[in-house]
Amino acid sequence: MSSSYERIFDIPIGPQHPALKEPAMLKLKVDGEHVVGVDLDVSYNHRGIEKAAEYRTYIQNLYLIERICGICNVAQTLTYCLAVESLHGKEIPARARFLRIVAEEISRINSHLLWLGVAAHEIGFDTFFMHIWLDREITLGLMEALSGNRITSSYNVIGGVRRDVTEDLLSRIRKGLDDLEPRVKRYREIAINDRSILKRTQGVGILSPADAAATSAVGPTLRASGIKSDVRADDPYSSHDQVPFNVITSDGCDAHARIIVRLDEILESIQICRHCISKLPAGPILQRLPRRAPQGEAMSRVEAPRGELFHYICSDGSDKPYRCKVSTPTLANLPALVRMLTSKGRYVVNIADVPVILASIDPCFSCAARVERTGGV
């Protein structure tokens, strides 16, 4: 190694870089074209939300927690609401539970389509990106009709959901899903058959099942390595036990498998939405809960679009949480990302593959910025 150490260079990527949609710093150690090490700094988005949550009431926190991540905001509020409801020890009405699933699945479809577009952009297939983002507007329209806003929906509240649905709205959602389904099937066909996609993604970013388990990967990243794990199936949190659905897995273990898993999940989510709409129970949508939560601790986990999202709330009996801790899926996937980005033995990572591998875990650095690295700007 003494002769090769001089050949190893550092290449910084970020925090402002065309391949990055969010600020993050990757310091790649390269030997020629091959990446041999990576140093990751994701703290540019650190805002101090967990500390700020201690100064606000449970109801005010709903709007703060929602802004941890704009893409999976439904999952964030859902996890937070589940934790607060479990502090109170109360069940919410059945109709609200089903409506929560509808909102969650629409946001999952939205997130996966968004990701697929970004992945196509990273591959260099901008036409695909534009087509997908045009169809993504369908789900945004559904979200706007359901909650009143395209992105930040504030749909889940403590004890239920904010808005009820009408028959008219349900038929609109049904029509939107019917429009979307053939489009997603077409995209799946393209993703399987298109040579440029296959060449850029197959065999890239390999994460073996053993590595995925060892690095505690979550969500589609884990499922694309052939491990069947989904919080919706393993620990049903919102009437998911009454909804039939399949946990999608793939044995590909590479970036292409992650594309296929996410596309199949969109189709599965469409089925879940349809089921929930047809079986929507009658009744109230909100169970009012007191402003002060009883003393105690509560944990909750939800299958967010990127994987398992975990919230912990400690209450001292007042109307503000004593401690609020959030563990996000991107944070859990970072060790797996570092392993995928490091060449080892016959597995070689080229610099050109770095954006594809980075995109393949669907990183959301605003979720992941839970700590700040000091000593460098």
């Binding site: 925090p15 402002q16 870089h17 065309p18 949609k21 969010e22 600020p23 703290s43 540019y44 988005n45 650190h46 805002r47 101090g48 939300i49 500390k51 700020a52 201690e54 100064y55 606000r56 709007y63 703060l64 802004r67 941890i68 991540c69 704009g70 893409i71 905001n73 968004l114 577009g117 990106f129 534009m130 087509h131 983002w133 045009l134 993504r136 507007e137 945004l140 395209r150 992105i151 930040t152 959301c364 605003s366 910025a369 700040e372 690295r373 700007v377």
Partner: protein
């Protein structure tokens, strides 16, 4: 009419920088670029380098970590340059400032405390139409006197 003003008005190239946003505004900025809203019909293109850009579109509350970067990016851009602040967080800190009651320790009170801002697009997140409006108004403002 100067050639720079004329060129600015016809091709306001955009640089997007996320200073700590929750991604809500970012995806709306990207939605502005994609077919339904299509900011490209105004001549605007998303560029990767600050040296190619005329308009800096900033989203998100300015965090302490990103504050140095935003200044560097602003200084790297050639004159004339314009800044559009997208989203309530970028304008005032938004939900992260809370009017002085328990603010987030890592967030600046607004982008204009660091760099001059030419257009504010409020909303959480603003709709793509609003972002489009902000960008087109800045482009028009730059090309005052142009036909």
């Amino acid at each position: 009419m100067g050639i720079i003003d004329w060129a600015f008005r016809k091709s306001p190239w955009i640089l997007h920088f996320n200073t700590g946003s929750c991604n809500g505004c970012d995806i709306e900025i990207f939605a502005t670029l994609t077919p339904k809203y299509d900011v490209e019909r105004l001549g605007a293109l998303l560029k990767g380098s600050p040296r190619h850009a005329d308009i800096l579109v900033v989203s998100g509350p300015v965090t302490r970590q990103a504050s140095g970067r935003i200044l560097r990016i602003y200084e790297q851009m050639p004159d004339p340059k314009k800044v559009v602040a997208v989203g309530t967080c970028c304008i005032s800190g938004g939900v992260f400032s809370n009017g002085g009651k328990g603010p987030c320790y890592n967030v600046y009170p607004g982008l204009d405390s660091l760099v001059p801002v030419d257009a504010y697009v409020p909303g959480c997140p603003p709709k793509p139409e609003a972002i489009l409006d902000g960008i087109s108004k800045v482009a028009k403002k730059a090309g005052v006197g142009c036909k």
